[in-house]
Structures are given as structure tokens and as C-alpha cells.
């Protein structure tokens, strides 16, 4: 648990490893390669890296054109630009079912100081609405690597949600199968379903709850679409659920789980960004302000269970 590494760094490293074994993999970036960490790939395989300049819409659609010739383009920019090029992703990538991987970094409020313009809190919501889109939100740098390989392995569009902030690496040895959640901790009173950076926070929250006599399961829902509905149903039948995500409570993991609960029964509380934009601040200060630290999450869950 000592090493800290951002999921974007795990992504950048994984691309280089992937590039060595799959020559169909190419990478596109929009002048952010030093931030999205595609710079590792551009140095290792300069002839397979295409900078598109500050022109995200063209980048996404060009990637679609490249995919149609048999290549596997990984396309990177900030997650906030998921909405900037949404129509390109819809009509250019998803509708023709092209093999484009959108690996977008700087998701969530943990972006920090850059503030609301750069903090994507709605990207999962809009990506979920697209037919055929797979959405992966890895919990740490190691899981990000596994997600990159899994994304390359499957045919079709993938949205990979990555973070800027360096966070502890704890997922060594965990399996990664798209659409199959990982149970990280068993519990009997409440099940926390979470993804991305909130997985570690939820594990720590479960630890705090245990000290107060509350037994919390923690489920790492690294794939938000297609959602592992079986695991949601199984836990909803046994205990109340809580979703924790660094995303708006509208349209994200919480609502994906809510749809399963609404149709199959169960109780659910959603924890996330409460329908507001972020702001500037240190990442830790923001996570605290928006109630996403282990302390705040465990307090919210305790209050909910009362």
C-alpha cells in the first residue's frame, strides 16, 4: 500500500507494454501527452504516435477512420472533453461500432486546482447513454494496466476513465474481467459498490465502520457498462446498498445500480457529487468538501443505516 501512482501513469506504462506485443495499437493525443501520459508511448514508438493538436473533435473522428483500416487507436485527452466531442463519439465511433479506445484522464474533482472547467463529473453519465459503449473506471494504476489490455482485447468502443491524482496501489493480483465486479471485502450490514479512486476510500471507510460495529462489504465495480447486474441483485437481496463515486449522483455508477434495484428490489443510497460543479482546491481538500473521504463516506453510511 506504500507506493502511490496515478491511474493515468498506469495507463501510460501499459500502453508501452501493449505496444510491444500488438503492432496494431496506435495512440492519438490532443497536445496533452505529458498529462495523459501517452508521452511514454510517443517516446517508445514515435512512428505510432499521432499528435492531433488542440482539436479533440477531429482527433476522435480521425481515430474512427484509422480504426476502420484495422488499427486499434487509443485516443487520449481530458475527461471533460468527453462532452466536447460527444457527437463525434456518438456518430463517428459508437454508431459504426468502430474499435476506438477513448482513454480520458483527469476525471473527477481530484483534478484539483484547475477547477470546475477541468473536472469531469458527468462523463460516465453521457457515455452510459451510448449504445455499444463499454465503460471502465479502474481503481488504481495496476488495475488501469489490466483495463488497458482488456480494452485492447475486445472489439468495439471503450471509454476508460482515468485520474490525475497519485493514489495508493493496492490491487495486485486481482482479476480483471470486463463486466465482472470484484468483491474486495465481505460484509453483512451494508454493501458499498464503488469504482475508480473511491474504491480505496471505500475500503478505508469500511474499516472505520467496522470499528463502530458495522460490517460493510466493498465491491469494486470497475466496469460500469456492461454492469455486473448479478452481483448487484445478489447483494441487494441481502443488505442495503451504497454507491460511492467521484462523479455526479446523476447518471453515473449510482444510477446504473439504482436501475437494477428499482427493477429487482432493494435499498440504495447514492454518494457522489450532488448535482453541482466542482471548484479549485487541493485534491484532498476537495474530496473532503464533497464528502468523499473515508471519514465522510463512513459517516454518511452510518447516518443512512440508522
Amino acid at each position: 500500500m506504500s507506493e502511490k501512482k496515478a491511474t493515468r501513469v498506469g495507463y501510460g506504462e501499459a500502453l508501452v507494454e501493449l505496444g510491444k506485443v500488438n503492432d496494431k495499437v496506435i495512440v492519438l493525443d490532443a497536445d496533452l501527452s505529458k498529462s495523459t501520459m501517452t508521452t511514454y508511448f510517443s517516446k517508445a514508438f514515435p512512428e505510432r504516435f499521432y499528435n492531433c493538436g488542440i482539436a479533440e473533435a477531429n482527433m476522435v473522428t480521425m481515430a474512427a477512420g484509422m480504426a476502420s483500416t484495422g488499427l486499434i487507436p487509443f485516443c487520449s485527452t481530458f475527461a471533460v472533453f468527453a462532452s466536447r466531442c460527444y457527437e463525434q463519439i456518438r456518430n463517428g465511433v459508437c454508431y459504426p461500432r468502430l474499435n476506438v479506445k477513448l482513454a480520458y484522464t483527469h476525471a473527477g474533482i481530484s483534478v484539483g486546482e484547475d477547477g470546475a472547467t477541468h473536472q469531469a463529473i458527468e462523463d460516465i453519465a453521457i457515455m452510459r447513454a451510448l449504445p455499444g459503449m463499454t465503460i471502465l473506471a479502474p481503481c488504481d494504476a495496476e488495475e488501469a494496466k489490466r483495463a488497458v489490455f482488456a480494452a485492447a482485447e475486445m472489439e468495439g468502443p471503450v471509454y476508460l476513465r482515468l485520474a490525475r491524482l497519485a493514489t495508493p496501489v493496492f490491487s495486485e493480483g486481482m482479476p480483471f474481467e470486463i463486466g465482472k465486479a470484484n468483491i474486495l471485502r465481505e460484509g453483512t450490514d451494508v454493501a458499498i459498490i464503488t469504482c475508480g479512486l473511491m474504491v480505496e476510500a471505500s475500503m478505508n471507510a469500511a474499516e472505520l465502520l467496522a470499528k463502530e460495529g458495522i460490517s460493510a462489504a466493498v465491491i469494486n465495480m470497475h466496469t460500469i457498462k456492461p454492469l455486473d447486474e448479478a452481483i448487484v441483485k445478489a447483494y441487494a437481496a441481502k443488505m442495503p446498498l451504497v454507491t460511492v463515486e467521484e462523479h455526479s449522483i446523476i447518471g453515473g455508477l449510482g444510477d446504473a445500480v439504482a436501475a437494477v434495484v428499482a427493477e429487482n428490489g432493494g435499498k440504495l443510497k447514492k454518494i457522489g457529487i450532488n448535482d453541482c460543479f466542482g471548484q479549485s482546491g487541493k485534491p484532498d481538500a476537495l474530496l473532503d468538501y464533497y464528502g468523499l473521504t473515508p471519514e465522510k463516506v463512513s459517516a454518511s453510511i452510518k447516518a443512512y443505516l440508522k
Binding site: 473533435a57 480521425m62 474512427a64 477512420g65 484509422m66 476502420s68 483500416t69 456518430n91 463517428g92
Partner: protein
């Protein structure tokens, strides 16, 4: 190449466009009729494509960025053997392969899903880059509208095409001067369009009559400048070949009634 045969096919394509649109009661005649010579010069003469193997790896590609003009593309593909004309009756109908805008998974010979204006140059640029990356000799063609060029993304793509020296890419315009709300000049002026395109790094040709097959073919046969994407501005007439549709923006997205259809077919049959 037999110019007379290609010309005769252009007439067939125009008749098929009128038939299809009249039958479906929905679609875009004006911008379909203006591009017939360009499409037939590509599919009947210039492009390396095989109707028996429409997805073969080393084929030339065509992206109809102005996807609403797909009746012209459908008729061109059918007349060149990609599928049977019995599909015409299914244009824009439930379950048909001829969608309101082209679908590469439904219709043989379609290389890209288009119809959302502004996308095509980016798709074609990506294809040209991808083919070049893999050492293919294939050429990529795309055709867009003048009004469509008001989309900012077009210019992003032009920058990329020049930046990556895509001399395996030909970007063509159906320069008929009209769009849905009227003349380009009135809706949103393109200014000195050829100068803008040259400034973006295109090796540009201007064809005075893009509805004259021999001029179209001459432009397509003009050798490219190594390291530069080719641009071709085809001056065309919207609604070309049907007197009452020619040069009238009102026929952008309106289909002919029975009487108008009869008259159009009569004119085309000469």
C-alpha cells in the same frame, strides 16, 4: 474508359435518384443531383473497388461527408453492381439497407457512416493516415458540401491532412453555393473559399463545371503533389438535370410529387 458509357450511366443514376426519392417521399434531391458526375467518375472509372468484394483491404475508399446526398451514392453503387435495384423501394423504410444517411454495416460499398455534417474529412483523414501507416497504396476520397464547410471540425481535419502530408487523400467539394436556408453568401459566407483551402495546405484544383464528366475525370487524373493532400472544388448546379430543381435551394430536402416525378423523368430521358 468510355465517356459515352459513363455519361449514360449518369443519366441512369439521375433517373434512379428521382425514382427513389419519389417513392420514399422523403430525402434530398438537390444535393444528390449535383454530384452524379463526381460519383460515377469515381466508381465507374477512377477508384480501385470491387463490387464482389466491397470490403477488400487494399481498396480505395470513399466517404460521402454530405451524407444526405446518399440517394446519389446508392444509385451509383447499384449501377456499378454493388447491390440490386430492388433495394431502391426500401429507401428510408424500416428494415431497408438504404438508410436515410449511409450505414456501412447495412449497405454494401459504404465505407463510413456519415450524415452528421463536418465529420467526413476527419474520417477520411484518419483512413488515409491509417492506410499510409500500414503501407497501403490505397487512395481515400471524400466529398463534402460548401455549406457543410461552415463546421469548424472541417478545418481541424484539413490542418491534420496537411500536417501529416496525406497525398493519398483527395478532398472534394460540391460547390453549388446553396444550403438549406438559402445561398451560402447569405447564410454564412465562406469568403474567398479557394484561398482559404490553399492556405490550409491543400494542393487545390478548381473545376469550372463539376457536372461535365470530362472535366471531372481530368481533375481526378491530375497527378498529386507528393506530400500534399489534394483538394478539388467542383462548381456544380444543385438539382442538376431537372429544370425546375436546378439552382433552387427549395429542393434541398423536398421530394417531387407524381406530376413532378413524371416531368423530371421525361426531361432526363431526353
Amino acid at each position: 474508359m468510355d465517356l459515352q458509357t459513363l455519361k449514360a450511366t449518369c443519366t441512369e443514376i439521375r433517373k434512379d435518384i428521382i425514382y427513389m426519392l419519389s417513392k420514399s417521399g422523403s430525402g434530398h434531391p438537390g444535393g444528390s443531383l449535383s454530384i452524379v458526375e463526381i460519383l460515377e467518375a469515381l466508381y465507374g472509372y477512377k477508384m480501385n473497388v470491387d463490387p464482389a468484394d466491397p470490403k477488400k483491404a487494399d481498396r480505395d475508399r470513399f466517404v460521402l461527408s454530405k451524407g444526405h446526398a446518399c440517394p446519389a451514392l446508392y444509385a451509383t453503387l447499384a449501377n456499378n453492381g454493388f447491390f440490386g435495384k430492388e433495394h431502391y423501394d426500401g429507401l428510408r423504410q424500416l428494415g431497408g439497407i438504404l438508410q436515410g444517411h449511409p450505414d456501412q454495416h447495412k449497405c454494401p460499398g459504404i465505407d463510413a457512416n456519415t450524415g452528421s455534417l463536418g465529420h467526413g474529412v476527419s474520417v477520411a483523414t484518419g483512413m488515409a493516415l491509417g492506410l499510409k501507416h500500414q503501407g497501403s497504396k490505397a487512395h481515400v476520397y471524400t466529398l463534402l458540401g460548401d455549406g457543410e464547410s461552415q463546421e469548424g471540425m472541417v478545418w481541424e481535419a484539413l490542418m491534420a491532412a496537411a500536417h501529416y502530408h496525406l497525398d493519398n487523400l483527395t478532398i472534394m467539394w460540391d460547390w453549388n453555393g446553396l444550403q438549406i436556408d438559402g445561398r451560402n453568401e447569405d447564410v454564412m459566407s465562406l469568403g474567398d473559399f479557394p484561398a482559404k483551402l490553399r492556405a490550409f495546405g491543400l494542393d487545390l484544383l478548381v473545376v469550372e463545371d463539376g457536372n461535365d464528366l470530362s472535366q471531372v475525370i481530368k481533375a481526378l487524373d491530375t497527378p498529386v503533389t507528393p506530400g500534399m493532400p489534394r483538394g478539388i472544388l467542383f462548381k456544380t448546379v444543385k438539382g442538376k438535370g431537372v429544370s425546375f430543381m436546378e439552382g433552387d435551394a427549395g429542393w434541398h430536402g423536398k421530394t417531387p410529387n407524381a406530376e413532378q416525378t413524371a416531368q423530371a423523368l421525361k426531361e432526363l430521358e431526353g
